[in-house]
């Protein structure tokens, strides 16, 4: 906040009587606003309801006008056809799990020390070193995927889990470093200095003292990396040309060509792809909110 506005604040604080200022804060809860909010948020999320409800309908309930708003009875056959009896889809879900977890671990492994280094050590060129991480966040995925395909063809990394894990980490690592750095900035230096007095090396101090203190940050980064890798599409599309190695997002896309207008199975498969992220979201909602705010606005 600028000094100018701080002055305004102080002036107002003097001018406006204290009891008048306080009244606004202690108003009755605005339940009528809650009601409006429920309607608005409900309307906003309606397409999501449509996704899930379509997946639970039989074909004669899907293709109706006016639309069938509530599926009765619930029909789970779309899930059987599209996912549980579909070995391609099951394999793709497994691939995505391996790739996402791999990318998450690699992201943590690289970003945890890097963000610490950028936050703590008074490097002469912290700003310069931070630059590639900031720019990398803004790169179009296709710009990395195109040369990566030619390079990975030479290196034998096309159609491998390692190739996809490495590619995904290019997307997640810069974000992780930017999100994680502020967490380290909040840890008082005195803690490490105390460890140094006790004869610990810098690496020991980092692992034993600092790292446990930034656990919330590490969780945030892990959640983001997993969410990003699970939903990633461009690297999957370009770097896995064999069906057995494709992540589930790519398989879902080829489903669209395959199933055409059979929207029941398509919505069932889409719901299954979304479910792991929705679970992660519900469990780690606070981490996502804080990470989004800290990573994107400032650090």
């Amino acid at each position: 906040m600028s000094a100018h506005l701080q002055n305004i604040n102080e002036t107002r604080a003097l001018v406006v009587p204290a009891h008048k200022r306080r009244r606004a804060a202690s108003e009755r809860p605005n339940w009528h606003l809650t009601a409006i909010a429920i309607v608005i948020v409900g309307a906003y999320l309606f397409p999501l309801y449509w996704l899930v409800s379509t997946s639970l309908k039989s074909p004669d309930q899907i293709f109706t006008s006016p639309p069938t708003w509530v599926p009765t009875p619930l029909d789970f056959s779309n899930y059987t056809t599209a996912v549980f009896d579909n070995p391609v889809m099951l394999r793709a879900l497994g691939n995505s799990l391996i790739i996402s977890i791999g990318a998450t671990l690699l992201t943590l492994l690289l970003s945890a020390p890097a963000a610490y280094g950028l936050a703590r050590l008074k490097l002469r060129w912290t700003g310069v070193l931070l630059l590639p991480f900031l720019i990398a966040q803004l790169l179009p995925a296709i710009n990395v995927a195109l040369p990566m395909f030619t390079l990975f063809s030479q290196w034998g990394l096309v159609n491998t889990y390692s190739g996809l894990i490495l590619a995904n980490t290019v997307g997640t690592l810069p974000f992780a470093v930017i999100v994680l750095r502020p967490f380290y900035l909040t840890i008082p230096k005195e803690l490490e200095e105390a460890a140094a007095v006790d004869g610990a090396t810098r690496f020991q101090a980092f692992f034993r003292i600092v790292l446990p203190l930034v656990r919330p940050g590490l969780v945030t980064v892990a959640v983001f990396a997993f969410v990003m890798a699970w939903g990633e599409f461009v690297f999957g599309l370009t770097l896995s040309t064999q069906r057995e190695m494709q992540p589930v997002t790519v398989t879902l896309n080829s489903f669209i060509g395959q199933y055409g207008t059979q929207y029941g199975p398509l919505m069932a498969a889409s719901t299954i792809v979304a479910i792991p992220l929705i679970i992660v979201f519900i469990v780690f909602q606070k981490h996502i909110t804080s990470g989004l705010a800290s990573g994107s606005v400032k650090d």
Binding site: Y44, K122, F149
Partner: protein, 318 residues
């Protein structure tokens, strides 16, 4: 504690190598300082920087399906760039990209801003409802794309069958019609982008002191005047950053459009990123694709420079 007395000397010894030490100790100090950052830097150098430079190299050669693996592609200088910019598809593709980006961004930001202002009024359950909206943001783009394909479907899609409720009988295949496909894709992207803008603006609004509004209302300022003269000026840095980031993120959108229309019909949604993909992975003209990719990179790069400059300026005023 006794530590505090010795921290200064110890602290200094920690980060800067001891001046009186030998050359080896000095080197070890530097090594440990950069050691933390090094693995990530090496990783990005190999898997990001090198591929980007490799693209520049690729764009100067006529690499295609025939010589891609065998090698020996002829050097063509800047011909790939000239060809791409002069190709009949370039200008329409650039226009589609800009319309998609600006159209999405305007509404994402405006609607996100309104949501943020609304949630900022504070009411029971507001945090929960706000968090619920973020579900859309974590959804994989492919899932959102297949959902909106279904909504815009000609036969019994939600849009058409809802129009039926108002007595409008429609079987318009919105994504197949070249006149409506781009608008449909923009609508889907607006839906996806609202939570991002809402979050950024909401976080920014938390920093606007409540007393400013209270004082203004005591002075008889209307809600609009309070928004115009307090919210907007106070939020200006956040608005600029949200718009810049939003622009860069929207300019490069690939997956949503690829899954919804694959750039069709008749190029109506053929954004630059799709064009790059087609050149390289459908026509296997990697040289042309690389040149197109570098053209695609140019605009976000310029905006990134602006973003970094603004960041720096904001940091220095804090």
């Amino acid at each position: 504690m006794t530590i505090s007395s010795s921290t200064t000397s110890r602290g200094a010894g920690f980060s800067s190598a001891p001046r009186q030490g030998q050359r080896t100790a000095n080197w070890r100090g530097a090594l440990s300082r950069y050691g933390f950052v090094l693995p990530a830097m090496v990783f990005l150098a190999i898997f990001m920087l090198y591929p980007l430079l490799y693209t520049v190299n690729l764009s100067l050669f006529d690499v295609n399906a025939g010589n891609f693996l065998a090698g020996g592609a002829p050097f063509v200088g800047l011909d790939n760039y000239k060809e791409f910019i002069a190709s009949p598809g370039f200008i329409p593709s650039l226009v589609v990209t800009l319309v998609f980006t600006v159209g999405s961004l305007m509404f994402q930001h405006a609607i996100g801003f309104m949501f943020a202002l609304f949630f900022n009024r504070g009411f029971p359950l507001s945090a929960l409802l706000r968090a619920l909206m973020l579900v859309v943001w974590v959804l994989p783009a492919v899932v959102s794309a297949s959902l909106w394909r279904w909504i815009f479907s000609g036969s019994y899609g939600l849009l058409n069958s809802s129009l039926g409720l108002f007595g409008i009988s429609s079987s318009e295949p919105w994504l197949v019609n070249p006149n409506t496909a781009l608008i449909a894709v923009i609508i889907a992207n607006i839906w996806i982008g609202i939570p991002f803008h809402m979050m950024l603006i909401y976080a920014g609004l938390q920093g606007v002191p409540e007393q400013l509004y209270e004082a203004a209302s005591l002075d008889g300022a209307s809600a609009w005047k309070r928004f115009r003269h307090i919210t907007v000026p106070m939020m200006q840095p956040v608005i600029i950053i949200a718009l810049l980031l939003g622009f860069v993120h929207t300019f490069k959108v690939f997956d949503l459009i690829y899954v919804m229309t694959a750039g069709g019909p008749a190029g109506a949604t053929n954004v630059l990123s799709i064009e790059v993909y087609k050149l390289s992975f459908e026509y296997f003209r990697f040289g042309d694709g690389a040149a197109a990719a570098n053209v695609l990179l140019l605009i976000p790069l310029l905006l990134s420079a602006l973003y970094l400059w603004l960041r720096k300026r904001e940091e220095s005023t804090q």
